[in-house]
Amino acid sequence: MPESTAAVELCKLALIILLLPLGAFIIQIFFSKKLPREGDWVSTVAMFVGLCMSLKMLFVDLFSTPTGITVQKWFPAQDSIGKFLLIGDPANPAFRLDFGIQVDNLTIVMLVVVTLVSFLVHLYSMGYMHGEVRYNRFFAFLALFTFSMLGLCITSNILFLFIFWELVGLCSYFLIGFYFEKKSASNASIKAFMTTRIGDLGFFVAILIMAYNAGSLEFDKIFESIANGTWKDKSILALGGICLFIGPIGKSGQFPLHVWLPDAMEGPTPVSALIHAATMVAAGVYMVGRMFPFFVGEGYVTGDWWGSEPLIFVAWIGGFTAIFAASIAFVQTDIKKVLAYSTVSQLGYMMLAIGCGGVAAGLFHLTTHAMFKALLFLGSGSVIHAVHSNEMSKMGGLWKKMKITWLTMGIATFAIAGLPFVLSGFYSKEAVLTTAWAAAKMNPGAYTIPFWMGMVTALMTAFYMFRMFFKTFHGEPKDKKAFDHAHESPWTMTVPLGVLALLTVLCGGFKFINKSDYWFLNRMDSEILAPYTHPASVNATPVVDDPEKHVHPLPFTDGRVHMQSQKQKEFREAYGLGHGTVTYLSMGAFLFGLLGAWFFFGPNSPGSKKDMLAPEAPLGKALKPLNHCLVNLWFVDAFYYAFFLKALHVIKDISYRFDKYVVDGIVNLQGVLCKAISSLVGIVDYEGVDGTVRGIGKTTLSIGKFAKIFQTGKLQQYLYASVFLAVGAIGLTVAIYLWVG
């Protein structure tokens, strides 16, 4: 990788952005009590500065070139503190791990997203969390979380990514269980941690596979080994891909490890916004995007991405999750739960996109989703703050009272539903679906069903999102008291809402500003295609006589020669062709969803008036079984509980008994023995050793007292004693002399 000073500067900037929240965390932990306002402004300012720097990187570096920047790596202090692990001879190590920073388009986008959402959430929290217990700790953990997330994004090797991944999980544990006095909250945080841990197991297995086969954990080295064909065991590659994806299944809440995400709503709303909307769950998506060549596996060499088992697996999981979660969101009454399941569903979308070979599409959706989901969560927080309840049954008709919240949430709902052309959500969803369509064209057997899953989900998304919207803001107020009490939130809460709404609009309208098509996609794609242009890659020189590989130059204008494979060319064509179809389909989905929701839940709509979905109504009766399943979350949680947790309880009991009687018995016995020995030693020491010392002291003192006896006060006795003593001394002298001589 070229390591020019410009590159190093970029990486240094990334490092600074990384360290800012860490510094904020340290200050918050140690000094927050002494700071005014308990130091919430510390981390907020840190985030803001980070945001400015990220924006600088975005505008200066990303916008300035058609393809953005190529991967820039930098190892700070490589031979000293940056060196993390060195096994073997330093010149020729068996294994070496350095802390390196890698900056490319993907990183910059993630940096911007993370710092932006984090900053807005900080600002929001200053209003929302005001007066809460452990106020300073909250900000500390927010800062730590941001630090972990940023670290995840800028690290250059997979082990460090894993470390930050874990750190993110840890922070989410703290933040979800923020109100740990509530049993449900602490349970939820444990659930989150446990579930993601299971995913991390798969992740770690994949790391081991990578380390063994590629010999290094640096991204570029891994990809190089795949591209060069020096990967040791080719059959393991697919397995590695699947194992690697298990991590994001846990972290990004894919089926079947999605169970923690809805429960994680026990945390404060800003936490939900930050973690579940924008960042933590995005970590999985980022990682899949970063490791895309790994998932492609064999196909990376051949250029055929759409036959790779891991990718198909990813797409299927993603699609299924999307539809699965959307279905459950239909029946949720807690506003945050709706949003939670919506998040799961949208994450499924992202995975679907990446699984279909469209990394850029998936990341584009990630970016836009971050904006409007964060907006939705913060807005819901505003509503909850006003009504003092999460339940939608207590809301209704709030649009009169909370204009800004209503407006911004409306924008977000339209975005997520996919309002055509105006809002960014449409474009990103369209990108995802088009990618799936094109992938289905490439490999119909594998990708057709995922595509339709995604399509149906679009419909469902629009439906349940508008359901939520109507129920919250329109119709009659269900709770008079709550309604009377409701008021708009303070500026610290509404400003972030406004900013996010603006961004939601802009991200879409951006297309009109930047004339070149596929601005985002180009930059993301160039990232993936970079190895083909890397001189070190074997495939750099196009093999002209192999039509399957690398024969077609890409239409980039920066002077570099980018090659694409035949399959990729076909994919692009399919993408372009399917664009129109998909657009219509998604527009249709949007409309139907909106109409349906309006029909059943809209204000003064026939459905809501007659309450057609009530259990007593005929439609309600018909849907009852489905409702039952949905309300019980398709029994997934119950299954887990029955199967795993009960078993765990049994094991727990057995091991508890064993520990208590056997292990502790031994330990206690040892303790008793120890006590006996030590008391014995103590006695020896006290009486024996100390006794000797004290005895010496006493003896000396008594000798001293004895010496005083001769000083009787009587002069003549002194004279006697003197003579006596003199004679004694002489006698002793003579005795010594005779003894010696």
């Binding site: 000396t700 003197s722 001394a729 002298t733 003579v734 010594i736």
Partner: protein, 533 residues
């Protein structure tokens, strides 16, 4: 005897007397200036006392101090060379100059202490200072004595003055009892010494100390008679130095005397005793062939001195352990320190006076005396100042005084540390020097005396053990002063400036002695005793 020696013409004798003796005497006066000045000042102080009203008599101290300074200046100003004065009575050598300066300059703090002490406020102080000056004069003469007569007379001058000063509180029982014990004990001791000196005179045929020593170191020189005579002489000096076996007076006298005099006794008279002791005992060569089939008495002598040193140290330290009176405690501690200094005398003994420059005997004793002056004087100064305030020298009364008088408390801590021998004080350096010199001297033992090497090691071992034992009672004082009645907000005792000045000077001297130990010890290595050669 003129009657017997009639072979020489009387007229010739008279003529010789006029032409040789008198010029010599007049010439000697020039070198005798410091002593003369001191004597004149003593008389002047006495005269001044006649004219001043009684209340102002204590200010005569300043005249005394002036005299001491003047005499000290003269001492330093004279260009000293090794010579005899007054027909062999007094020897001028670097050794005696050192001690003269020691007594003169060291006498100033004692005068100041007497000035500051409340104990002596109502007494007639003119005579006090006159006698003090005369006593100091006695000490100076003792250090430079070359003839047994001069030695004895100077000893007596020192002692007589001390007897009076000890009993200066005429009305107090303790003071008068102390002086009674002192004078009787002291007279007995000096009389025994006189007897011993007489035998020495008889053995050698001359009263001059170098000649006596020459006789004793000659072949078959030290027989039983010589040993016995030296023993008796040692008794007298042991009394002055307060070593075994003649130490019994010192606790009682120290307790009974006014505290400034106790201080004086503990330092000055001890130093004078050592000065004379080193002149007398430090010079027997051990390379003497024993008389056939008998005891080699010259070898007996170092053994004897070592035994004395060991017993003195031990007894002094042990008896001090259970003392409750601070002055008595310091008396026993002085005995112990005399024991340590005896180690130096032993070293000189082994080295022999011919080789004195090569050995550390004189230098270690001289350095230790300097350190001892600083620390003991300082400690006693603190005791005097505290006695002024509390009127008592019982240890219980010292409880909590460390907080009431922080400067004094702190200084006392330093002085006590110095007495124990903890760095960075002069006391530590002195002990260290003594022990190092003792251990090193084993290499220079003459043939046939290797048993002394083991004995020296035993002596050093005892010195170290005794240092350890002494920690107890010195630190007991510190503990009582600081940790008995912890009341850091107690009213601070006001200390007179002059007293603080004395304490501060002693403190500085203690630390200075540590800091410039090497240069000072090198200086003291140049001290030589006149051998008449």
């Amino acid at each position: 005897m003129f009657l017997l020696n009639t072979d020489v013409n009387l007229a010739e004798k008279y003529e010789r007397f006029g032409s040789e003796v008198i010029p010599k005497v007049v010439d000697s006066l020039h070198w005798f200036a410091p002593e003369l000045q001191l004597a004149i000042f003593a008389i002047a102080v006495l005269l001044l006392d006649l004219f001043l009203p009684r209340k102002m008599s204590k200010h005569i101290a300043w005249l005394a101090i002036g005299g001491l300074i003047y005499a000290a200046a003269t001492t330093f100003g004279l260009h000293h060379e090794e010579k005899k004065l007054f027909l062999g009575m007094i020897a001028i050598d670097s050794y005696s100059v050192f001690f003269k300066a020691f007594f003169l300059l060291g006498g100033i703090p004692f005068v100041l202490l007497s000035y500051v002490s409340k104990e002596l406020e109502n007494a007639r102080m003119g005579e006090y200072y006159a006698i003090l000056l005369a006593t100091i004069l006695g000490g100076m003469l003792m250090a430079s004595a070359n003839h047994i007569l001069m030695a004895f007379m100077a000893l007596e001058l020192l002692s007589l003055g001390s007897y009076v000063l000890v009993g200066y509180h005429k009305r107090q029982n303790k003071s008068s009892e102390a002086s009674l014990k002192y004078i009787i004990y002291g007279s007995v001791a000096s009389a025994i010494m006189a007897y011993g000196l007489s035998i020495l005179y008889g053995l050698s045929g001359s009263g001059e100390i170098p000649k006596i020593l020459a006789t004793l170191t000659a072949d078959e020189g030290m027989g039983f008679a010589g040993f016995f005579a030296l023993l008796l002489t040692f008794m007298g000096l042991a009394y002055k130095m307060a070593t075994i076996p003649m130490h019994f007076w010192s606790p009682d006298v120290y307790e009974g005397a006014p505290t400034p005099i106790t201080a004086f006794l503990s330092v000055a008279s001890k130093a004078a005793g050592f000065a004379l002791a080193m002149r007398l005992f430090g010079s027997f060569s051990l390379d003497v062939a024993p008389e056939a089939g008998g005891i080699d008495y010259s070898e007996l002598w170092p053994i004897f001195l070592i035994v004395i040193a060991i017993v003195t140290m031990t007894l002094g330290n042990l008896a001090a352990l259970t003392q409750t009176n601070v002055k008595r405690l310091f008396a026993y501690s002085s005995i112990a320190h005399a024991g340590y200094m005896m180690m130096g005398v032993v070293l000189l003994q082994i080295q022999g006076i011919e080789d004195q420059a090569a050995g550390f005997g004189i230098s270690s004793v001289a350095y230790y005396l300097l350190a001892y002056l600083a620390m003991n004087l300082g400690a006693f100064a603190v005791v005097v100042l505290l006695e002024n305030k509390t009127g008592s020298v019982e240890l219980e009364e010292y409880a909590g005084l460390g907080w009431k008088a922080p400067f004094l408390g702190f200084s006392l801590v330093i002085f006590l540390f110095s007495l124990v021998g903890i760095p960075p004080t002069g006391g530590f350096m002195g002990k260290f020097q003594l022990i190092m010199a003792a251990v090193n001297s084993r290499g220079a033992l003459p043939e046939g005396t290797e048993f002394l090497s083991a004995m020296i090691l035993v002596m050093v071992a005892f010195a170290l053990l005794n240092t350890a034992v002494s920690v107890y009672y010195y630190l007991k004082i510190i503990k009582t002063m600081f940790f008995s009645k912890i009341d850091t907000n107690a009213e601070k005792i006001a200390v007179p400036v002059l007293g603080s000045v004395v304490v501060a000077l002693c403190l500085l001297l203690t630390i200075y002695l540590f800091v410039s130990a090497s240069s000072l010890i090198t200086e003291t290595l140049h001290l030589e005793i006149y051998t008449g050669a």
